[in-house]
Symmetry: none
Subunit: 250 residues, 2 copies
């Protein structure tokens, strides 16, 4: 069958899913049509004051429980790698995206023992709003069919869009914003400066810097500077390069 029509057909079923169950059914059918043994879609909305998430998968029950335990410890290399890739990627390419820790290798091995041998993951991120990933997975006795990965890429992204619709789109203005001065203080803090040092840099008092950071923390409803920095980073108010380039220049 021509790939175009296959893609259109699978995308159509997914786009028309009105409930989580229908999405499950459509994704299950898509995985089967594409020669995968399992699928998993995880979508997390983060912006604003009403976080929400959606997880649909057809993993073996034993693996699903193991996975949750690994996940709490931050041991999901696939998800982390998805923050480094604009395109879908095969799991065997993980070391090209992130360094694998011992815990990561362990997780992949346990997955293999539980019928999760390899996969192709489609990650997507919307700044300040949400992230998601849709994975198509093969078992130990299956072969990754390279010729369907383009279809999987498009279908996976369509599925993430469907998940976004089901979860509900966060209000565009829902997330906190910082004033320019607050943002500057957060950025210098991320660069490792104390409040006193930031004050000297910006030509204001240390107390004023403290006040700006306090206001910024209140805005995001977090209680420490590391969480504040991470919020600003995720929302795109500051970027890795703001911090890294400055470090390397000094």
């Amino acid at each position: 069958m021509k790939q175009y029509y296959l893609t259109e057909e699978l995308a159509f079923e997914i786009t028309n899913a009105l409930t989580q169950d229908e999405l499950f059914t459509a994704l299950s059918a898509a995985a089967e049509r594409l020669g995968f043994d399992h699928f998993a879609l995880a979508y997390d909305r983060r912006g604003g004051s009403t976080p929400a998430s959606l997880l649909v998968h057809d993993y073996p029950a034993a693996w699903a429980q193991v996975y949750v335990d690994f996940d709490l410890g931050g041991a999901d290399p696939v998800r982390r790698a998805g923050e480094r890739s604009m395109t879908g990627f095969e799991w065997r390419s993980l070391p090209d995206l992130i360094p694998l820790t011992k815990g990561d290798r362990q997780m992949l091995e346990v997955g293999r023992e539980n019928g999760i041998a390899d996969g192709f993951t489609v990650p997507r991120h919307l700044p300040g709003e949400a992230s998601g990933a849709c994975s198509f997975v093969i078992g130990p006795n299956s072969r990754m069919q390279e010729e369907v990965l383009h279809v999987a890429e498009i279908v996976g992204a369509v599925a993430l869009s469907a998940a976004r619709r089901l979860v509900g789109v966060a209000p565009p203005k829902g997330r906190p914003t910082l004033s320019e001065r607050q943002r500057e203080c957060v950025l210098w803090t991320a660069r490792g400066k104390t409040a006193s040092e930031v004050g000297a840099i910006l030509g204001i008092s240390e107390e004023t810097v403290i006040q700006h950071l306090k206001t910024a923390r209140d805005r995001y409803d977090v209680h420490c500077r590391q969480m504040l920095i991470l919020c600003a980073l995720f929302d795109g108010l500051i970027g890795f390069a703001d911090i890294y380039d400055w470090w390397h220049d000094h």
Copy 2:
């Protein structure tokens, strides 16, 4: 020609582009092969002392200048819509994604008068790092060929990955800088926990947590926890999702 081989061929040329000029050439060829009149790729790495962005396009010179002026003023509806879509979108779908202002409509109209009648844009975002969009555009006397949009979607994302590479991105480190236990302590710190709390969570003493964090800081040669967290995040040892999921589950 079968779409799969067309996609593979175009993606191959783009992936092998070593300079901005080669990327231009490859994208120009891709646009022509797909029946588009123009293309434009914009990639913006967030922040940095030297703003690292890349813009390659073959727009008519008159429109290019107008476009840059609109874009600098933050008045590009296509870019704004790209923050709301996980898949490529046609410009005629813009009102489904964002409310269009009078200025937006004016811009689209001026574009039409300058040979930019409609387009298909592939947006991509990486949390904390960068955003980009690759557009394929038709003029007033052309028809959008729906049957090539899947190809355009994949090729566009591959082009953005190439742009990322050209702008510069650190290769992943082979071996993780931190031990598994150190990484865990950093992750819980990023989740906003004090050393004492991390100790309770992991079943070890507060002093042990402090020791792990100290060793981790030494590994990265940084002097405070925010810098440590950012290094681990940048390396891909912890992910935004690892941090955020936990915040909102508790």
